[in-house]
Amino acid sequence: MARTGFCDSKPLLDLHKKVDERRAPLRTWANACGPIDRRQPIADESRMATGKVEPEHRWERRLSMQTSEGIIMGFHEDSRTHTADGCVDEPVLLYPHGLQGLHSLQALVPSLLRHEVEMALEKLNLIWDRTFAWDMFLDMMRTQTWNSLPNTDLPRHFTDATRAVLVDWLIQVHEMMHFQEETLYLAIHLLNRSLRKIQVTTANLQLLGMVCLFLAAKKEECLLPEVSGLCYLMDHTYTKHQLLRMERKVLCGLKFDLSFTSPLHFLLLVASVAHCSAKVVWMARYLLELSLLEGQCVVFQPVQLAGAALCLSRQVLQEPPTPEGEAAWCLAYSIHVGSETVLLRIMQILASAAARAHSRETCATFIKFSGLETMHVSGHPGLKNASSLLGICT
């Protein structure tokens, strides 16, 4: 029968070996933020609330979206209200759409897209019942709009740079634990929300990060690490008791809401519909993971981040186009949400992050994607001047 007992614990046997082997930052995190112990101001409640739709309207909205043909259009509207943050909604054509002007073909897109999405979801093993595949996709599209934060503000005394160091450290711990990739994305999402929801001293930031990873693992993983192992990884700076207290604090602060639609699912889904090559997918995964380190990226929706990572990956790799490949890409591209401006902006952020990745202190992701198993994507020469591909200089 299937495996039972999610609570089975995996002792962190060989952790210390790996800890010392590579990457110094893992243990130096505590130093990076200094011993200052000042209280963080709590973000006010109303900010978090703005990303949500009034409860009475949500259900109706869902129904109308399911019945109408203009599924993608519906999401366009949503995305505008959420990423208003200073960008003009003026479409900039990055790619020839291929579908424009061909009205008969355009009319075909919803059913064609639906078919492809259903197949992709099945292939990715994300569904158990084909009947509900399209509903599920619509659900993913809708819920993901709640996953972006209204602004990039961080509590005082906590800069984007400190955040990046913390995220980089979590990426290393995550890799060491052999967790699923979804777990990492969820953990960082929980971290982003917790930072705005609960009061945490600078000295406890590392603890907060670890607890977010631990909670994400509880939601996603079959095997859990021992709490004592987690404390060991933090050099016993905190006791087990402190960790468990922080867990409760985070759960209460987040009101137990751990739901998240991972950008990775969108990336794999779109890539599958677009029949992208393995290399394009690895490159996009690399770029997507870099987005976790960028504080500016928290305002974007998962589907936008995934779309931008794929677009940039294709641009960087410049694989010779085939007619089938272009057609599949056009179809997949219609999943993209939000304006071209938003897409371009994310691509710029990712391009400049990728160009600097090798020389930064926070280079766990760069190293992770430099190996043979990830097709050496992070070392691709095209990334060095990816920004210029986008026609901008940074």
């Binding site: 029968m1 158990w128 939601k219 759960l251 751990l258």
Partner: protein, 306 residues
């Protein structure tokens, strides 16, 4: 941070003792509304809040965002520390007057009208279709876990065993109270959303009968009772990955469902049989059940009336 559950919610009465703890009716002193409090005591030993609690509550919170009319509303979640070793997690739900079990018991003879049953079934299936399209299976549908408001609105409750499906998640073998358990679970084969449809079928029959359809005393006995009604399934439908052999059961022929559910009409009987289908892959889905002629009938009837 500490949510003062005991201050904001004033207990009024004990509603039901469940598997995990007692459910209380309480008054929200801020709004004056009645709520139902379901507390779960969790031993926070080595690993903090247990995975099952984290997942259940996360799932309920997720469902909450949809505000579906046929799913009970979760209004709040509070965690309070009782001691170093114990945390109390309290789920605050809207209070609903009764569960379907009580509702059926309170109904005077000769029982519910066919229209009432149809309406309850439609709502039940709507709630279920919603869960299933959101990757959630309930896994413990039975009259005690279905709430009915005094206006007759159905609300699915008790997601204690519900699971959100994700690709790498293992399934626990023990689900669903015996009498509402489908053959694939009784046989310990793999299962998915059709589990809930089987249970719904059992409940459908029970609404007419006002007593459960299959009251087995053990897994094997339960299967025997099922085959007395639907007949022994053909060899090729018997799952291959199970230990219990088909030869343990007498070769029974299916019997007309009207023998067991006398008041059901023809369309209803047809739908019921599609729900009580042995092979989970051939069992009707919640969405398709809602489109069954059993339901369409009423609409045309009411249209004619008005």
């Amino acid at each position: 941070m500490a949510h003062a559950t005991s201050i904001q919610y004033e207990p009024v009465a004990e509603i039901g003792g469940g598997a995990y703890g007692t459910v209380y009716k309480a008054r929200d002193t801020e709004s004056g509304q009645f709520v139902a409090l379901k507390s779960v005591r969790v031993q926070t030993d080595q690993n903090g809040l247990p995975i099952s609690t984290v997942r259940e509550v996360a799932l309920l919170k997720r469902m909450e965002q949809f505000d579906h009319p046929n799913v009970v509303r979760l209004m709040d979640v509070c965690a309070t520390t009782r001691s170093d070793q114990e945390t109390k997690v309290t789920l605050v739900f809207e209070h609903v007057d009764q569960d379907l079990k009580t509702y059926l018991e309170k109904t005077p003879s000769p029982g519910l009208s066919p229209e009432r049953i149809k309406d309850l079934m439609r709502q039940l299936l709507c709630g279920l279709a919603f869960l299933h399209s959101n990757r959630v299976m309930h896994r413990d549908l039975k009259p005690e876990n279905i709430l009915v408001t005094s206006q007759g609105q159905v609300k699915l409750a008790d997601f204690g065993l519900a699971k959100i499906h994700s690709c790498h998640m293992a399934l626990t073998p023990v689900v669903v109270t015996l009498w509402y358990r489908p053959p694939e679970v009784l046989l310990q084969s793999s299962y998915a959303t059709p589990v809930d449809i089987w249970s719904t079928g059992c409940i459908f029959a029970e609404m007419f009968r006002r007593k459960p359809l299959f009251c087995g005393e053990s897994e094997v006995d339960q299967l025997g009772k099922i085959f007395e009604v639907i007949g022994l399934p053909p060899e090729e439908e018997w799952p291959t990955d199970v230990t219990l052999s088909r030869t343990n059961f007498p070769p029974l022929m299916p019997r007309p469902i009207a023998d067991f559910v006398p008041e059901i009409n023809e369309q209803g009987a047809q739908l019921l049989m599609k729900m009580l289908t042995f092979d989970p892959l051939k069992r009707i889905s919640a969405l398709n059940a809602l489109e069954h002629s059993y339901f369409q009938d009423e609409e045309t009837l009411t249209q004619k009336k008005s």
